[in-house]
Amino acid sequence: MTAYEQYIALLTLMRKEIRRYTRIWSQTLLPSAITMSLYFLIFGSLIGERIGEMGGVSYMEFVVPGLIMMAIVTNSYANVVSSFFGSKFNNSIEELLVSPTPNHIILLGFVSGGVSRGMLVAVIVTVVASLFVDLNIHSYLVVVAVVAMTSILFSLCGLINAVFANTFDDINIVPTFVLTPLTYLGGVFYSLELLPEFWATVSQANPLVYVVNAFRYGVLGVSDVSVGFAFAMIGAFTLVAYWYAAHLLRTGRRLRT
């Protein structure tokens, strides 16, 4: 395919993916706004007032970046895992597989759907958060970069999950038993300084620690880990995920017989 034809194929996939989740906005965009409002109200406003400061800022300010990032992670992941698995389930993935669309365009197309939903939800949740706390962005560059990289990373993870999934139950196992625990243990609600040394060290293997802290640095200017190291780790996780997702598409594992 020529570069122009690949561009058309990418635009087609992006349009299809974006239309898919906007058509069912009440299932894809609204829940995050409601869930995060409750988090802000309960953890930030009600309980947070009793906790006081954390990481040098009010508890409400401390949890907001982590909660926004949690929304980005879950929505990017959910979008790609459900869309790609849905295509597998109704065999419409064959439309793509029999076409000359290169694998990297297929990958980019699905990932762009996840990224755009992640970013859209980020905007919605940020607007909701601004009702509870005044947000002064410390570094727009860091915020944009970490949101983009995180949504790419978790969109890729969603695609990998979808490739291996055989049933709709399989696409819920990872979010329930892996993603949610990693999110809660990734420093969304607490500073890593509160953890015993052993668990703080274990937490270094959790990619959510880096995305939450890098984003918190971008918003508040505070972080439990070095921002440069956090970006390096997110970049490394993203490269590994991209390589593996591309490998799955190239070999046709679970897609071709």
Binding site: I8, A9, L11, L13, N90, E94, P100, T257
Partner: protein, 305 residues
């Protein structure tokens, strides 16, 4: 000779050890209307799956219009349009969206895609269903939608896997006309079907596959020439006599007004009619007892096994 499809030594062994294809060779000339016949599990869909990349081959060579799929699969895919046996589109999308997406995957800009959608929806009688969600279509309409989708990038080779399954007779005939039309315009058509009369009326050449091996690969004309015996049902004007013996012909009484005649290759049907007439038996109508190709098909499969 230039071929639309060349297959040499194609083998496929699935992960469970099932050897679906045992080194098949197949050649389909450009512009041909070709039938691939075989019973369930013979290897037809596996062969098509390999050609269009849904099945990874174990060994062998496949060329589409001279393009080796191992060398340049994207270029080979561009030559192919595939209508699979099972519906494989998102039933929640509209007919138009399904076609626009497919065109996009082939790099066709939206403006050109819309023009082609107009054309193929009209040809396939789906214009008024353009904005209908696919799940609301009947089985026949879904089948035609898949044909429109396979043609949207104007391939030179169209592969149809059981295209008329679940399609009523009237719609089947209009589909036949449409396929003949695009074949006449130069598109090579490869068809798998269980309706053997479909292959006989549409196709020029045929391959019969069984247990992953090609049993025969010849023209329909040659295949039928090999058929040694045909059975006809004759309906008489008046009640038949008890003694039906006619010299040189094997006749069986079905009921008082019908008889069955077996005509060997080389025997003259006019001679039979003449002898029956001489005996005072007047024939009103005559028909084949069963599809000739079906007889041949069963006979070949029996020989192969």
């Amino acid at each position: 000779m230039s071929y639309a499809l060349e297959i040499q030594g194609l083998e496929k062994t699935y992960a469970n050890g099932l050897q679906a294809l045992k080194g098949i060779d197949l050649h389909v000339a450009k512009g041909d209307f070709f039938a691939l016949l075989g019973p369930n599990g013979a290897g037809k869909s596996t062969t098509i799956g390999v050609i269009c990349s849904l099945v990874n081959k174990t060994a062998g060579l496949v060329r589409v219009n001279g393009i080796d799929i191992d060398q340049n699969f994207p270029a080979a895919k561009r030559q192919l349009g595939v209508v699979p046996q099972e519906f494989n589109f998102n039933v929640f999308e509209t007919v138009e969206d399904i076609l626009i997406h497919q065109a996009g995957y082939y790099g066709i800009p939206l403006k050109i895609a819309r023009e082609r959608i107009d054309l193929y929806l009209k040809k396939l009688g789906l214009t008024d269903k353009r904005n209908t969600r696919a799940r609301m279509l009947s089985g026949g309409m879904k089948r035609r939608l898949m044909i429109a989708r396979a043609l949207i990038h104007e391939p030179s080779v169209l592969i149809l896997d059981e295209p008329t399954a679940g399609v009523d007779i009237e719609m089947r005939r209009s589909m036949y006309d449409f396929l003949r039309e695009i074949n006449a315009a130069g598109t090579t058509i490869i068809l798998t079907t269980h309706y053997l009369e479909e292959a006989e009326s549409l196709c020029r050449n045929i391959a019969i596959i069984n247990h992953g091996e090609i049993v025969t690969n010849t023209s329909i004309k040659n295949l039928l020439r090999d058929l040694r015996k045909e059975t006809f049902i004759l309906d008489a004007r008046e009640a038949l006599p008890q003694d039906l013996a006619v010299e040189g012909f094997a006749l069986n009484r079905i009921d008082d007004f019908s008889l069955e005649a077996q005509i060997e290759q080389g025997q003259d049907l006019a001679q039979l009619m003449s002898q029956l007439h001489n005996r005072g038996i007047s024939i009103l109508s005559m028909r084949n007892r069963e599809n000739r190709l079906e007889q041949m098909f069963v006979s070949l499969l029996e020989q192969a096994s």
